[in-house]
Symmetry: C2
Subunit: 343 residues, 2 copies
């Protein structure tokens, strides 16, 4: 029982309570974060290891969460491969030279994470040195499909319709882009393990916009390559936002933990993916916006709905919404601990 | 065999070919539509029965689709109940006096569709008089949940997070709002049948943002009331955009046709909902943005994937994207007819 609860849960081992962490647990809903954010642009915060460490530790100091996740952004990877990134206030991330044709794909520079993304690796080393030994540190990357969406669209989009058309129109060009991004993601994640990350989450934030067959053909093979390339050095967590329709495909990939979107019924999820995987999720983030009473009422049902799972890491079914009150996060984490210790 | 193919397919009867229509088949991707749209605001177009009729008939004249759908907007109903609606260019629909508390709910005026929404009823009568007898006319309404989303938020939103919190926080207030909207929807849809609509589609455009249990508690009872209130006078079609997780709940409602979002695998859908319902869908709309070849390749697989369904009405899995080329729509409709006649 010497391993931290979060890591034991990732492996499906018995635990004293259900571990809890929250996607986007460091962020604008915290006053401490906003105070830093007022002083510097977000990309500078991420590229300053001391600041990134401080932000990573903010929710650890504020709430009894069971894991930390390194403060970083998925788009620093394509930036390091040659795409010119800017975060435009009110609009979000923009690449000024999006991928348009095969020659753009071929111009992408192979990533060397130790050289190109050392700011995040250094933040991992600094955070690990400051974190208590019972709080594991999670590293992460965007999945190649999601990175390709931004690289081709050049910005966010409601459903990346034009990217799907671009993908359908030239599967070889798509594969060439995915190959290059996949090599980069694999190098980046291995470097995060080497720097001290004790679990890894792959965020496929836009996989949900793909039909099932398109996901199988245009995304899953590259995600598989990453998961196989990493092996089981550390637990591998996969989260496809709005990806409930992809669960059967995800359950066939070599990974330990499947993240569950807030829309899904955990009992149906267990029926569909079986009990080979630990599940992570999936409180509706809007319940943290609602009052104390509505949240309190929802928690026993959440715990109960995962009773038949191989294991359960408690999380939201998407990131913390920026208008969330910190006291609701505190209530969520504390009550999950209390309720799951009793159970 | 005297009934039009579309209506026969809605009832699960044998058909000579699979009928096709497209959500948003009248719209900005058509030059004829843009020519009208340049001359007047969208709300005025909808409130002028002659213009609404002309727009409804544009895709019928351009493509061999098997059904027409009346040109209207789901938000004219809450407008008629007292919410002050404006379509702001670049931003979309806005209600200037959104619902905030119980007193706002109580101030909503009961709908009298014959008095308040006669422009759409008159457009149905005019369209029906001009349409060939083998092309049925579909009427529609927004579902109460989706109307409530706009009424409370006051505009569109990525996921209506704040509306879900408002809903969780006071279930009685929510029920009072849903009761009033449901009475309005039922009156409006019955009036559309009386005016000549031969099938009805309920668009629950935002049901997809609800967790399954929340949909069962906060939305499905009112959708059931509408479907039961209508009975089987005309085929009842339900479309919940991004609602793949809700299929089991939808299959339990009294209705004939379930619309399938583009993300879903039809074979999995059939496994989950059984063969009591005809299915409608679900080509990825991005395939109409892709080239002729990519679209051609996708169509036999689409038809084949519904082989085990009770019946299949071919459609997109979401509305036509405004940058779609009309020749792709023509190819889609024509090839579906050809391929399904051979099969």
């Amino acid at each position: 029982m010497s391993d931290p609860v979060f890591l034991r849960a990732c492996r499906g081992l018995p635990v004293s309570h259900r571990p809890v962490w929250l996607m986007r647990q460091a962020g604008r809903y915290m006053e401490e974060y906003r105070a830093l954010r007022e002083k510097m642009p977000i990309l500078e915060m991420m590229k300053d290891p001391a600041i990134a460490t401080e932000v990573t530790l903010q929710p650890i100091n504020a709430f009894p969460v069971d894991a930390a996740i390194i403060f970083a952004d998925i788009l620093t990877l394509p930036e390091a491969m040659g795409l010119n990134l800017e975060f435009i206030p009110g609009k979000g991330p923009v690449f000024h030279n999006p991928i348009q044709d095969m020659s753009d794909v071929q111009k992408l520079r192979p990533l060397n994470a130790e050289r190109d993304l050392d700011f995040t690796l250094e933040a991992i080393r600094m955070t690990r040195a400051q974190l208590s030994s019972d709080i594991p540190l999670i590293g992460f990357s965007g999945a190649p499909f999601t990175l390709a969406c931004y690289a081709v669209e050049g910005s966010g989009s409601k459903n990346f319709d034009e990217v799907r058309a671009w993908m359908y129109n030239d599967p070889d060009r798509w594969a060439a882009l995915m190959d290059r991004l996949t090599d980069g993601v694999l190098d980046y994640l291995q470097a995060q393990i080497d720097a001290g990350a004790q679990a890894l989450q792959l965020f496929d934030s836009w996989a949900g916009c793909l039909p099932v067959q398109a996901y199988e053909r245009f995304a899953a093979p590259w995600t598989r390559k990453i998961m196989e390339g990493l092996g089981d050095q550390v637990p591998r967590i996969h989260f496809a936002a709005n990806g409930g329709h992809l669960l059967e495909v995800l359950a066939d990939l070599p990974l330990e933990v499947i993240g569950v979107d807030w829309r899904q019924d955990p009992r149906q999820v267990i029926k569909r993916v079986g009990t080979q995987h630990v599940l992570q999720g999936n409180l509706d983030p809007a319940l943290l916006l609602a009052g104390e009473e509505a949240l309190e009422e929802a928690l026993p049902a959440l715990l109960d709905s995962y009773r038949e799972a191989k294991g359960h890491i408690v999380n939201l079914g998407h990131g913390v919404i920026k208008t969330t009150k910190p006291e609701r996060v505190a209530q969520f984490v504390t009550r999950i601990h209390e309720l799951s210790r009793q159970a």
